[in-house]
């Protein structure tokens, strides 16, 4: 399998610019700068690269929505607010491959005509603040950033902006609102960030993994990228796997790789001789799959959708047959209640209510009516809010309760 992102990440000390250049780093940027910016966009479009943050929107198309010559600056924001439970793949890149990200950002900025860019990194990654600042500093010193990128007539500044603890800020309009110095309340769309984003200017928000894939695409060409993966899911994807597996960690596989092979091979299988019970394939927001539903499922956008779940962020949580599903859901529901920004009524009230009903059930104080109540709350929340956080709570609630209903009812009966 091709390694677009993790070819060198396992080797120690790859995070310096010297090491990065030794293995051809920043050559892709050089190449991109020699192309028309529109040609770079075309290349990315042709590569089939889709947003790796969770939504899977085609990156080149997202870029093409940005209007030119508006008289306003265009901003590129790197979404490094990785907070989706089960997801730790961006952290892996930020720690080990800061220059891969910087090069990707520089390529994207050039394509978009952007001269000021930010890495919005979640505040919890305080331990990465200094290393990332150091990498940016190196890039400035090497003439990769600054008034003249690689000696060309193209200026680019990238600053690191630390968040301060809010899952919702990974949602792109919330990220922008937060970057502007406000409470991270998601914005009503339209207008979309492509035209009215950061400081009401055209803005593109891309995930770390998405941006880090760009140097490879520029170096090897769109066709090489499009040759990897499935018909609609091109390239490779990082999966961070945790829970009941022998080798939790971050792995890069071609899109379309079989889910069960991934669990059994890359992740080392289920330890202690236990059996697989369920998989949350793409971060806690996506519907859970029962073990039997995983048969034949491939790790790509379409296959997972067909199976009734989503690829999401690639944050895979594996549960063995000891897992108590009501308790798992209770933990998940607590998370959404804690992270709801509180702006829209259904999410603010619904996530809190669902979490309390679940706690009550898990404590053995619930009733059968509570099981249906959870589904009712899910119906009341779904599709009625500004951003998808409520829906991100709805998906686990509905899938857990319907797929493992007897476990919930057993709790109610006791």
């Amino acid at each position: 399998m091709t390694k677009i992102l993790l070819a060198n990440a396992d080797k120690p000390g790859q995070n310096t610019i010297a090491k990065y250049r030794e293995r051809g780093g920043y050559k892709a940027l050089e190449k991109a700068l020699g192309m028309e910016s529109s040609a770079v966009i075309d290349e990315v479009k042709a590569s089939g690269l889709r947003g790796r943050g969770g939504a899977g929107f085609p990156t080149g198309m997202k870029w093409s929505f940005v209007p030119r010559n508006t008289g306003k600056p265009t901003y590129l924001l790197c979404n490094a607010d990785e907070s989706e439970p089960g997801t730790f793949k961006d952290r892996f890149l930020l720690e080990r491959e800061p220059h891969l990200l910087i090069e990707g950002m520089a390529i994207a900025a050039y394509a978009l005509g952007c001269h000021l860019s930010y890495i919005y990194m979640r505040g919890e990654f305080g331990f990465l603040e200094q290393p990332m600042e150091a990498a940016l500093e190196e890039a400035y010193k090497a003439g990769i950033l600054g008034a003249s990128v690689l000696g060309r007539d193209f200026a680019l500044d990238i600053h690191l902006h630390m968040g301060a603890g809010a899952y919702i800020c990974g949602e792109e309009t919330s990220l922008i609102e937060s970057l502007e110095g406000y409470r991270g309340y998601p914005r009503i769309k339209p207008p979309f960030p492509a035209t009215h984003g950061f400081l009401a200017s055209p803005t593109v928000v891309n995930n770390v993994e998405t941006l880090a894939a760009l140097p490879w695409i520029i170096t090897n060409g769109a066709q090489a990228h499009a040759a990897i993966g499935t018909e609609k899911s091109k390239g490779t994807k990082l999966f961070s796997v945790s829970g009941h597996v022998s080798k939790p960690g971050v792995y890069e596989v071609d899109l379309g790789y079989p889910l069960l092979d991934f669990i059994n091979n890359e992740a080392g299988g289920i330890p202690n001789g236990r059996a697989l019970k369920a998989v949350i394939p793409g971060g806690s927001s996506v519907p859970v799959l029962r073990a039997e539903e995983c048969q034949g499922v491939l790790l790509d956008y379409e296959s997972l959708l067909k199976a009734g779940s989503m690829l999401g962020s690639g944050g895979m949580i594996v549960l063995d047959d000891t897992a108590k599903m009501p308790e798992v859901l209770s933990v998940i529901a607590d998370f959404y209640a804690h992270e709801s920004c509180g702006q829209c009524t259904p999410c603010r009230e619904g996530t809190g209510w669902a979490s309390k009903v679940l706690r009550n059930l898990v404590a053995g104080e619930g009733t059968k009516a509570d099981v249906d109540r959870l589904l009712k709350i899910a119906d009341m929340m779904e599709g009625k809010t500004i951003c998808p956080l409520a829906d991100a709570d709805v998906m686990p609630i509905r899938s857990f309760v319907t797929k493992f209903r007897s476990e919930f009812e057993a709790l109610a009966a006791s």
Binding site: H338, T345, R348, W353, M380
Partner: protein
């Protein structure tokens, strides 16, 4: 002008209107909490969700533009179910303390519950999120965080209308609460407005709270008499007592707002002692009550004696910028038209003619009278006297012998009012013969030759002309006590006593006569003085 259908009814929207705005203009109410016509759109409450054909999800009607050919439903089962859900969510953490809540009767939670909810609470009391109650936010506002639906109207008011930002959200998720920094009292001359715009019982009025259940109140449309802005208001009253003033939305004047001083101005009417009977000073220097008939006959004959002796130029008409146009019109008609008086003025204060000078950027003007512009339009400004100082001087020098003075206590007081009152006293002292029409007793009471009790603002109907030249009708909410009469009626009686035509039965009769004879008001009808009022031009 996009045409669309709402619940199968064709509607033509204005360009740039959202669905909810176009619906409201068409008389269809879509339930909502956070939407307010005079605040920026926020879209947080999710109560105004509607179904739009070809859109997969329900969409908030406050954020969705009405576009050509759109097919919208606000009353389908799907929408009702969604609205019911939002309402249920809003109530799960609500304390449901309606019996002790002052918002009862005008609470959107109660109202919508009756239409959409009627569900049984599914959350046990101990599961509810508890927040703080009865937080004192200064002289106007009391905050109950538990009753708040977090619609952010108050926050947006302080952010966008007064640009001061006192109220904010604190916390996150279902623990979000509104408040001020360290519970600081709202030190803002417009803070009372957040009570009006709060759709629930979270922000209640410190002044009005627990005084009266709102369903016992009667409402009368009026105009605030607190300054030359002339904000449209509603007087809520019961059994002859005013309980509160609320702004009426007038996009041309005050939008939905009212300043705190104006809001509380009615209390000024209730302070001090009222003049209740016509009084005439006898030869012994002591004032004795008389009937209106005797008072009117006496005034008319005495003024005519003075005119015969000293000429019409010796009679002064000193009006009030707080009197209605109808009052000032008949005042002028009697003294000028009938007696031939030439000296008219109304200015007790330098502010009175600077009607358009702003006290702040929101509503207030320095001139604390509702009708200075009206007095000016009626030409009650003597170039010779130039206000009260000139009148005092002329009286002291004997050029003016008699004066008819209308004096209303200012409803919004300023420090300079005492000096102004002193000048009125001095004028009355200097006059040989003085007729004072007043609402409240004051120092000059003993000096005046005749004191006539008149109706105060809210006790009579009439029009005021605000700083823009906008004529607006103020209704009569309550009765005046004693024998007090509206000022226009006093002069109608004087005209009658003088043998002149006096056909007016009500203030709007006077208004229509005025529109026939006064150039500034020509062609106006009383209907045009209702919301938003009509601007008269020179």
């Amino acid at each position: 002008m996009p045409k669309f259908t709402l619940n199968d009814q064709p509607i033509e929207a204005n360009d740039g209107q959202t669905i909810i705005q176009a619906a409201q203009d068409a008389g269809i109410d879509i339930p909502h909490y956070c939407y307010h016509p005079d605040l920026p759109i926020d879209g947080n409450c999710r109560m105004c969700l509607v179904e739009v054909e070809k859109m997969p999800k329900l969409t908030p009607s406050c954020t969705t533009m009405a576009t050509e050919g759109m097919v919208v439903r606000s009353s389908s089962e799907r929408v009702k179910e969604a609205v019911r859900g939002v309402l249920e969510f809003l109530l799960i953490n609500h304390p449901v303390d309606c019996p002790v809540c002052d918002q009862a009767g005008e609470c959107r939670l109660q109202d919508y519950y009756m239409v959409y909810g009627l569900h049984t609470s599914e959350i046990p009391l101990e599961m509810k999120v508890r927040k703080r109650k009865a937080i004192d936010l200064g002289p106007m506002v009391v905050l109950d965080q538990e009753r708040c639906v977090l619609c952010s109207r108050c926050i947006r008011f302080f952010e966008h209308v007064t640009d001061t930002g006192e109220m904010q959200f604190f916390g996150r998720g279902d623990h979000v609460a509104i408040g001020t920094f360290e519970d600081k009292p709202l030190d803002n001359p417009y803070s009372g407005n957040v009570v009006d715009i709060c759709p629930v019982g979270a922000l209640t009025s410190r002044d009005f709270r627990f005084k009266c259940r709102v369903w016992f109140l009667h409402s009368t449309d009026s105009v605030c008499a607190g300054c030359s802005t002339g904000c449209s208001v509603r007087i809520d009253h019961r059994d002859g007592t005013i309980f509160r003033l609320l702004p009426r939305r007038n996009v041309e004047v005050n939008q939905s707002w009212l300043c705190d001083e104006g809001r509380l101005s009615f209390h000024e009417l209730q302070t001090g002692e009222r003049v209740v009977r016509p009084m005439i000073k006898g030869r012994d220097g002591i004032q004795a009550p008389v009937t209106w008939e005797d008072a009117v006959r006496s005034i008319d004959s005495r003024l005519k004696e003075i005119r015969e002796a000293n000429g019409a130029g010796s009679i002064l008409g000193f009006g009030s910028p707080s009197a209605t146009n109808e009052a000032l019109y008949l005042f002028k008609r009697y003294l000028g038209g009938e007696l031939g008086a030439t000296h008219f003025d109304f200015r007790v204060d330098s502010e009175d003619t600077n009607v358009a000078e702003e006290e702040d950027q929101v509503l207030r003007h320095f001139d604390k009278h509702p009708n200075s512009m009206g007095a000016m339009k009626l030409g009650l400004m003597s170039a010779e006297l130039c206000g009260i100082e000139g009148a005092i001087k002329a009286a002291r020098e004997g050029r003016i012998k008699a004066g008819v003075v209308i004096y209303f206590n200012p409803l919004v007081r300023r420090r300079r009012d005492e000096e102004a009152e002193g000048r009125v006293l001095e004028l009355i002292d200097q006059l040989e013969y003085s007729v004072v029409l007043a609402t409240h007793r004051a120092e000059w009471h003993q000096s005046a030759s005749v004191v006539l009790p008149v109706a105060a603002w809210s006790e009579e109907e009439g029009t005021y002309t605000n700083f823009q030249g906008r004529v607006q009708l103020a209704g009569r909410a309550i009765e005046s006590g004693g024998d007090a009469l509206p000022v226009w009626e006093v002069f109608a009686m004087l005209l009658h006593a003088a043998g002149a035509e006096s056909p007016w039965m009500a203030s709007d009769d006077v208004f229509s006569t005025m529109t026939e004879t006064e150039a500034a008001y020509r062609g106006l009808t009383i209907e045009q003085t209702r919301l938003p009022g009509a601007v008269v031009v020179e």
